[in-house]
């Protein structure tokens, strides 16, 4: 059982606890047996490409899908077999699913009325104010913009004070600018109401911006779970390394150990990797994948190689391509150990010699190196791999 303590609450009545839940459709396994605890009051993201099982997991919490095995707990209550209308959770659906025949007020009041609450006016008005839609109460959903509809969907769910709010790709239909704005707004609302949010998304940036804890899912399994910074800095699999941002991965062989560091052979040179940052077994002579993020790397022209401080990992190569994007310049460097090494250099002092064709030395602090099991595909989680391609197609 993976337990993450990202919030300091003593009341665990709003924890979501999934114990060995799995979902199979015939011979297809959508979700492999999964143990997961979402602590009360946290903003939790399930991140993955489409078909990875993240939405199925969410729907099992909502009660819209019955798990093939395992149990779902909300706080101390087992809800595995409870129909959705008996669960203290609410969902913000991907396409909002607002009731087209009811106005905004009645959409928001729907849950309250179903629970037999008579005087809903005050609560609905307060909730509409929270999402800044007080003026729109008597309009029909189709008269509202996408962003406004999205806020109605959030209000309609939140007004019931659920133990957990489930969000199924709630920002997927919005354009980029609006999406950024809604990310901040959802985060603000979550902080304000303090309800546990479980957010499903395929957008890694969205997950990292909003969530305290991210679970990266792939092919029906949780690949890794942690805070956004932890996942980014210490990926445990090539999928996570590639799906969250970009990673340069180099195949290397374990050569020797110096203190807490492992020395590896890659191409003709040597690289140093802190043992603590390696998630793979490191027997001498064994293979390891060495990874480093593009923004951790410095680029120095080969003529100035002597100025590079000692103790840094170095790789030599030729600039194949460079693109200037304002705050930074992105270089693609061909090197004997890795064909397309990506380097993001901040545009502080630009070296005019760093143009395609130039011989360069790439160097970085060994502490920024991470090690992965070499038995995995180098390309898992990249935009070219199957899982992510589906996403762009959908």
């Amino acid at each position: 059982m993976i337990t993450v303590t990202t919030t300091d609450t003593t009341d665990h009545g709003g924890d979501v606890r999934l114990s060995g839940i799995a979902k199979t459709y015939g011979s297809f396994t959508a979700v492999h047996p999964l143990d997961l605890t979402v602590p009360q009051g946290s903003f939790f993201a399930l991140l993955g490409a489409s078909g990875c099982g993240k939405t199925t997991t969410l729907r099992m919490i909502a009660g819209l899908e019955e798990p093939s095995s395992g149990t779902v707990f909300l706080g101390d209550q087992e809800v595995t077999r409870l129909p959705p209308y008996k669960r203290p959770v609410n969902t913000v659906f991907q396409s909002y699913a607002l009731f087209p025949h009811l106005d905004i007020f009645e959409n928001v009041a729907f849950g309250l009325r179903r629970r037999g609450i008579k005087s809903v006016k005050k609560q609905v008005e307060d909730m509409l104010d929270l999402v800044q839609l007080g003026e729109q109460a008597r309009k029909k959903p189709h008269q509202l913009s996408g962003g406004q509809q999205q806020r109605v969907a959030v209000a309609r769910a939140l007004i019931n004070h659920p133990k957990v709010l489930l969000l199924d790709e709630p920002l997927g239909a919005l354009d980029l600018k609006l999406r950024r704005q809604m990310q901040l707004e959802l985060k603000r609302i979550q902080t304000e109401v303090g309800i546990t949010f479980v957010h499903v998304t395929h957008d890694q940036e969205e997950a990292m911006t909003m969530a305290d804890t991210v679970a990266v899912m792939n092919a029906g399994r949780v690949e890794q779970l942690g805070s956004p910074a932890d996942l980014y800095e210490n990926p445990k699999t090539t999928f996570v390394a590639n799906f969250l941002g970009t990673s340069n991965l180099i195949e290397a062989e374990v050569d020797s150990r110096i203190g807490d560091d492992i020395v590896l052979k890659a191409g003709g040179g040597k690289l140093v990797l802190p043992e603590a940052r390696c998630s793979a077994p490191t027997t001498t002579g064994g293979k390891v994948l060495v990874g480093v993020r593009p923004e951790k790397i410095s680029l120095t022209h080969a003529d100035d190689a002597g100025e590079i401080p000692v103790g840094r990992n170095r790789i030599t190569g030729t600039i194949a391509d460079s693109s200037f994007i304002g705050v930074s310049t992105q270089y693609v460097v061909d090197s004997p150990v890795c064909p397309e090494f990506e380097v993001y250099a901040q545009n502080i002092d630009r070296d005019a010699r760093l143009v395609p064709g130039a011989e360069v030395v790439l160097h970085w602090n060994p502490a920024h190196t991470f090690g992965l099991d070499a038995a995995q595909s180098l390309l898992a989680g990249t935009t070219g791999s199957a899982g992510v391609q589906e996403e762009t197609a959908a």
């Binding site: 909502a62 396409s95 087209p100 025949h101 179903r114």
Partner: protein
């Protein structure tokens, strides 16, 4: 319409007229056949019938337009029982169609899965045989001493319907029940198809959302599914009620002189008694009555923006 107007002209435009001008006329050309059809087969006969209804005279001496509106009053005062009966039978058949058709349309739209197309074909299948043949078949089904009447008798259903005045004695044929059954049977597909169309359009996620917001299955139906299917209910009831109110075949084949509907009166005035003014006046009264009822109904059901 805007897309039609944007359509490029088929032939190169003549020099004098810019191509836009030509494109703008396309919608009217497309409307032309339908308009002509309506003028020849609807507007002209209506005008002719309207003039017939205010004529006086006889077959031998010929008819003249004398603006004799009293025909309307005479027809209404003489045949009001048949009018009332038509409305009552048509309403009963419409309610029965709704009760029978809604569950079936719901099943086809949400639960039929791969059987959907087969069930749809079964709904439409009766149309492959003539309306008359099918109604005659009901005559056999409901025949005196037949298995259906026997079963209803054994189950004491006939005792109830006799008490209600829908049947008499050991007979079903030639009773109001037979006529209403015939109407229901013949117009059921006109109820099911629009119901199915509007149910099928409902986004399944709305059901999930309602369930997620604490609505039990029955409440989901009452608060979400049924209101959203109102356009189908309205068009289904209209498509059933309007033709049923003017129908004469069912009353003719399955009924008796005590079950004559206004359609039967019009038919006999036209074809047997040859009193054309009265027949035309009855037709217009029926039309006006239906128009008024339909307008009130659409207003009351509040579906103007949904239809």
């Amino acid at each position: 319409m805007s897309t039609l107007a944007e359509a490029p002209p088929v032939a190169p435009a003549p020099e004098k007229r810019p191509p836009r001008q030509r494109g703008r006329l396309v919608p009217y050309w497309l409307l032309l056949p339908g308009i002509l059809w309506l003028i020849v087969f609807f507007a002209l006969p209506m005008i002719y019938q309207a003039s017939t209804s205010v004529q006086t005279g006889s077959l031998e001496e010929g008819y003249k337009v004398t603006w004799h509106f009293a025909t309307y009053w005479d027809a209404l005062s003489q045949y009001w029982p048949q009018f009332l009966r038509s409305v009552a039978y048509a309403a009963a058949a419409t309610v029965l169609c709704l009760v029978l058709g809604y569950p079936l349309a719901y099943l086809i739209a949400f639960r039929a899965g791969r059987w959907r197309n087969l069930i749809m074909i079964l709904v439409i299948a009766p149309f492959f045989t003539s309306f008359l043949i099918r109604t005659l078949a009901w005559k056999t089904i409901l025949a005196d001493g037949g298995p259906v009447v026997g079963a209803l008798n054994t189950l004491h259903v006939l005792d109830v319907t006799n008490w209600l005045g829908w049947t008499s004695g050991d007979r079903v044929l030639a009773t109001p029940l037979a006529v209403v059954c015939g109407l229901t049977y013949n117009f059921l597909p006109f109820m099911i198809l629009p119901l199915y169309t509007s149910l099928e359009r409902i986004d399944g996620r709305l059901h999930e959302a309602a369930g997620d917001l604490y609505a039990r299955p029955w409440t989901v139906f009452r608060r979400v599914t049924f209101p959203l299917s109102m356009p189908g209910v309205v068009s289904g009831t209209l498509l059933t009620f309007i033709p049923a109110a003017g129908d004469y075949v069912n009353a003719d084949l399955l009924g008796s002189t005590d079950t004559r509907m206004v359609g039967n009166v019009i038919q006999s005035q036209f074809l047997r008694i040859l009193d054309y003014p009265t027949a035309a006046a009855l037709s217009f009264i029926l039309m006006a009555a239906i128009l008024v009822m339909v307008t009130v109904y659409i207003r009351k059901s509040g579906t103007e923006d949904l239809v």
